[in-house]
């Protein structure tokens, strides 16, 4: 596939329907056509190819106001079924793969807001959370509605310090920022909801605060608690400071 393949922004990929060969060809991913119906490595290549095509289009052909359009699109993320390409009775491995692939494709829509290294690390963290060897039976994979909320939060907060990630049993992404004994935990809910809890130690005593709001108000709700303490690598931050 040419590295500079340009895909029209209007081109939507509906993974719920079988992808015709000519459509994949136009994305430059024709070599991976057969992989979509196989539980094989070709499936991963197909997703990677498509994600790369979307990113390439962002890098080379998008108007600047598409940034706002893409952020706005996250407010109405595609239904999970349209981002998941699998047949009935998919194995857990396929469900986990589909969940992470869909998240990566969603990330590509706001790729310009995330440094490449940040993005790659995020993908590794998502893969780690969905490792089939570590998967807890009964848990739900990452819900796309939760991940969309996470992306909006990250685009707003623009943290210099990356969080550790976790996953609730219901498939909600959890981000945690840690400084020595202090921690800020944010759970990203569907429909732009966020729940957060933090603890900071002063003279060996922990002070705890919590809140629940919409992602658009997250920055404001954390303002009284020195967000720079959590989201930056400033010197001097830590127990009982600044």
């Amino acid at each position: 596939m040419p590295a500079n393949a340009v895909v029209p922004y209007s081109k939507k990929i509906d993974f719920a329907a079988p992808v015709a060969g000519h459509e994949l060809q136009s994305l430059g991913a024709g070599d991976f056509l057969t992989g979509l119906n196989d539980r094989s490595l070709d499936r991963e290549c197909a997703y990677s190819s498509i994600a790369s095509s979307m990113f390439s289009s962002v890098a080379f052909g998008e108007e600047t106001n598409s940034i706002e359009r893409r952020i706005a699109a996250l407010k109405s993320p595609p239904a999970p079924s349209s981002l998941t390409y699998f047949v009935q009775d998919a194995s857990i491995e396929d469900r986990l793969f589909d969940a992470t692939a869909a998240a990566k494709i969603l990330t590509s829509q706001v790729a310009m807001h995330l440094e490449s290294e940040w993005r790659q690390k995020l993908f590794r963290q998502l893969d780690s959370l969905h490792d089939p060897e570590e998967w807890e039976s009964g848990d739900l994979p990452l819900q796309q509605s939760s991940f969309a909320t996470f992306l909006k939060a990250i685009c707003q907060i623009k943290p210099k310090k990356r969080p550790g990630l976790g996953l609730s049993s219901g498939g909600h992404l959890i981000a945690a920022w840690i400084t020595k004994r202090d921690r800020l935990t944010i759970e990203f809910l569907p429909s732009d909801g966020v729940r957060w809890a933090l603890s900071k130690h002063h003279d060996d005593e922990a002070e705890r605060f919590a809140g629940q709001t919409k992602v658009a108000r997250l920055v404001e709700s954390l303002a009284p608690y020195q967000p720079e303490f959590w989201f930056s690598y400033e010197k001097g931050t830590g127990e009982g400071s600044p």
Binding site: S128, E133, D139, P163, G164, L167, I174
Partner: protein, 154 residues
Amino acid sequence: MKKVPGKDLPDSDHVVRHVPWGRLLRDEDDNVVGVLGEAFAPRPADNSALSVNWLEFYDGDWKTRLDTTVNAFRANRKLDGKKVGLQSAFAIGNVAKIKSICGVSSRGVRIVFAPSRNNPSHSVIRNIPPDDMTLLDTLATEGLVALVRNSDIP
């Protein structure tokens, strides 16, 4: 102490909670540094009850008890066709401390012995509020006396 089903565990004893990989607190480089509060949130279907294992159900020193508890847990999981991830961990907490933390939320938490045939040390923490993030975070920090990785237990 007599091990009677339905009885509260002694305050001086401990409970062991399995923490899957996804509920471990990690830093940005995926190094494990603790436990997320979510690890102590009951699933919606569990009616505010959290499954744990009673450490002192078994005899022996601390290590022997923990090894026996974990191996019994693994065996029970295997019977259910489930695996225990190598990267997962076991969080150990003191009964009195857990009750003290939960007591702040005035929910009347109880930790009772609830064995099953294939899980003889099984116990339950009842009335854990699933949505109280502050409480769950406190349990994950102040409620623990130890965190042991599954890979470290033979």
